[in-house]
């Protein structure tokens, strides 16, 4: 049976999938743009990083017996939305495991289906290194990652929470940076971008205030291939470019504590 025949068969049983590409269609995964990060979780939380079953996420990389794992997740996209950045990063870093975290369940479903479909239709066994998990990353990041596990963290176009009383719901704050500094290894990099100027200033000032982060120099920014992807790889970023909007980036490196 040819590749296209398989696709058609599947899309007949899965009406939410496109017939031509075999990928899920966004129309059937609509969800509100905002989700309340304060509400108590109703999805399973792993008890500790040792309890996360990575063989479910990365079957080709990790054997069923988790103890033999030498590879650990290194990149985390917090609030990955529809998965644009992860998909681009997957082919750029084929040997690195990366995971997206998203609060909305419909959107997580979409990303899951997208990854599975891409894995099936890819010719070179690609996209085995990327996965998604539904969780509240503001509360449960230490449940997924060990100390110093990550080398890159991404916060692309986070919810601005404009009202001052909602500022504490922002995903970047000096207090939450303590936790992000904990899961990032020394030398690890945190990437943030937004199209809202006030939020951009807020994120930059939080990072500058925090004693465990220092800004990357312009040279370092220019030589990092990931920096370009921040604007171009995600659906949000593409929308901003289409509308001719400005983006505000803050890319910082995790350093050892300086009192």
């Amino acid at each position: 049976m040819g590749q296209s025949e398989i696709l058609i068969m599947e899309s007949e049983t899965k009406p939410t999938f496109s017939k031509s590409t075999g990928l899920p269609r966004k129309r059937f995964y609509r969800a509100r743009a905002h989700s309340n990060p304060l509400s108590d979780s109703h999805f399973p939380i792993p008890i500790s990083p040792a309890h996360v079953d990575f063989s479910l996420h990365f079957p080709k990389f990790v054997g069923a017996n988790n103890e033999e794992v030498s590879k650990k997740v290194e990149f985390a996209d917090i609030g990955c939305g529809f998965g644009g950045l992860l998909i681009s990063l997957a082919t750029l870093f084929p040997d690195t495991l990366m995971i997206g975290m998203e609060l909305r369940d419909k959107v997580t479903e979409y990303v899951k289906e997208r990854i599975l479909a891409l894995r099936k239709t890819s010719s070179g066994g690609q996209y085995e290194n990327v996965s998604v998990v539904r969780t509240n990353s503001m509360k449960y990041i230490p449940n997924y990652f060990e100390k110093g596990q990550l080398s890159k963290m991404f916060f692309l176009f986070p919810d601005p929470h404009f009202k001052e009383k909602n500022h504490r719901r922002r995903v970047i704050s000096v207090d939450l940076l303590d936790e992000y500094a904990y899961v990032l290894r020394a030398g690890g990099i945190i990437y943030t971008i937004t199209d809202v100027e006030e939020l951009g200033e807020w994120m930059r000032s939080c990072l500058e205030k925090h004693p465990m982060f220092e800004s990357l120099t312009q040279d370092e920014l220019d030589s990092d291939p990931v920096v370009e992807l921040l604007c171009s790889a995600t659906e949000e970023g593409q929308k901003v470019a289409r509308n001719g909007g400005q983006t505000f980036r803050a890319v910082f490196r995790r350093i050892a504590y300086v009192s």
């Binding site: 509100r32 990060p37 500790s48 207090d175």
Partner: protein
């Protein structure tokens, strides 16, 4: 359909109002403090006399339930705090209120640094505040925060290098306590995870060795706690933890015969175990409290002391309990209040599926077809 929801909410509101009685004994066994609701009662064990608290500030003692009390490691300071959003720091020698800190939210936990220079207190929004004990500061500065989780317990490690904070989302965070705490504690040493389905109610004094084994011990202790409470166990279990052998074993079971006694708070000093069972009544009536003592806790000679035998004797009971002897009927009636108070601490509030689904249905997630 609506009625069971309203009743459930009403019951849950009642749960929050009842506060368990607390007890704290001076590290060198010089005095005992008990709180029932907003009433703070202290008895001096050296002079065998009740203590009158002196508060020169305008606020007269605590106006609402006291939720946390503690002696400093040196025994020179005592701190009490709770639902009235005040953190009161007392001298444990003169029992004068040295300072009253105003918190923005209700305080759930408190800890004093080993050198008596800082007090840390935590609120229901997960923020841990720190205050310098210079006698003048009236407001705390944010030290660290657990994102939107109620902080149930705060402790300093015995060497004073770390501060541990436990929350209702089953996490304990171990943070390096910096030299300049007013700048914030940003360096997280580790997290203690692995407590399944439980709330962290009482954080044991952490040992100097911060290893995985201690974390395992903690989670097993908590499992035991909840299982015991559900099984209506009334008493104290003494556990010994062998870190090198990875074992936790029950060394002793202490049960109070002859009365219905659910300990709501315990405090240990010089191998004497002090327990209190009690709760505030929610209204203006004085709450109920009953104090029991176990001597020589670790050795074979441990015994539950009768009222006349306890240090301080009947004078202590009169001060700390309100009266020397309590009628059986009062005790039985009060035990219901005590159970209510304890269950609100131990069980995380659960929202029923129906309530959630009802709220979800009222939201309009559908986009109009274009």
């Amino acid at each position: 359909m609506e009625e069971p929801h309203i009743e459930e909410e009403h019951n849950q509101n009642k749960l929050i109002d009842v506060a368990p009685a607390l007890i704290s004994v001076h590290p060198s066994h010089k005095a005992i403090a008990v709180t029932v609701g907003s009433d703070l009662r202290v008895f001096n064990l050296i002079d065998n006399s009740p203590v009158t608290l002196v508060d020169e500030s305008n606020e007269s003692f605590h106006k609402d339930s006291v939720r946390a009390i503690r002696y400093s490691a040196s025994g020179k300071l005592f701190v009490s705090t709770g639902d009235d959003k005040l953190v009161k720091i007392w001298s444990a020698e003169s029992w004068r209120c040295l300072n009253t800190i105003c918190s923005e939210k209700r305080v759930t936990a408190v800890a004093i640094s080993h050198d008596d220079s800082y007090v840390c207190y935590a609120d229901k929004f997960g923020v841990v505040w720190v205050v310098e004990l210079d006698g003048i500061t009236k407001k705390g500065v944010s030290l660290l925060s657990h994102y939107c989780s109620i902080i149930t317990s705060l402790e300093f490690s015995p060497d004073g290098r770390y501060i541990l904070s436990a929350d209702r989302d089953f996490k304990i965070r171990v943070t390096v306590f910096p030299e300049e705490p007013l700048q914030g504690a940003h360096e997280i040493q580790s997290f203690c995870l692995g407590h399944t389905e439980l709330d962290i109610w009482n954080l044991m004094k952490p040992s100097k060795r911060k290893s995985q084994l201690l974390i395992y011990a903690l989670s097993q202790i908590l499992l035991l706690q909840r299982w015991l409470f559900k099984g209506n166990f009334q008493g104290i279990l003494l556990l010994s933890c062998d870190l090198s052998a990875h074992t936790l074993s029950i060394t002793k079971v202490i049960q109070i015969p002859g009365e219905s006694f659910i300990p709501t708070s315990i405090s240990v000093s010089t191998s004497t175990l002090w327990m209190v069972s009690g709760a505030s009544s929610g209204s203006n009536q004085p709450g109920y409290s009953r104090v029991r003592v176990v001597s020589c806790m670790d050795s074979e000679k441990s015994a539950i002391l009768e009222d006349e035998q306890i240090p301080g004797g009947t004078k202590l009971l009169e001060k700390l309990q309100g009266k020397v002897s309590i009628e059986e009927s009062v005790m039985i009636a009060a035990s219901e209040a005590v159970r209510t108070a304890m269950s609100s601490l131990l069980m995380k509030k659960q929202y029923s599926e129906e309530k959630r689904e009802l709220r979800k249905r009222s939201r309009n997630d559908k986009k109009t077809t274009n």
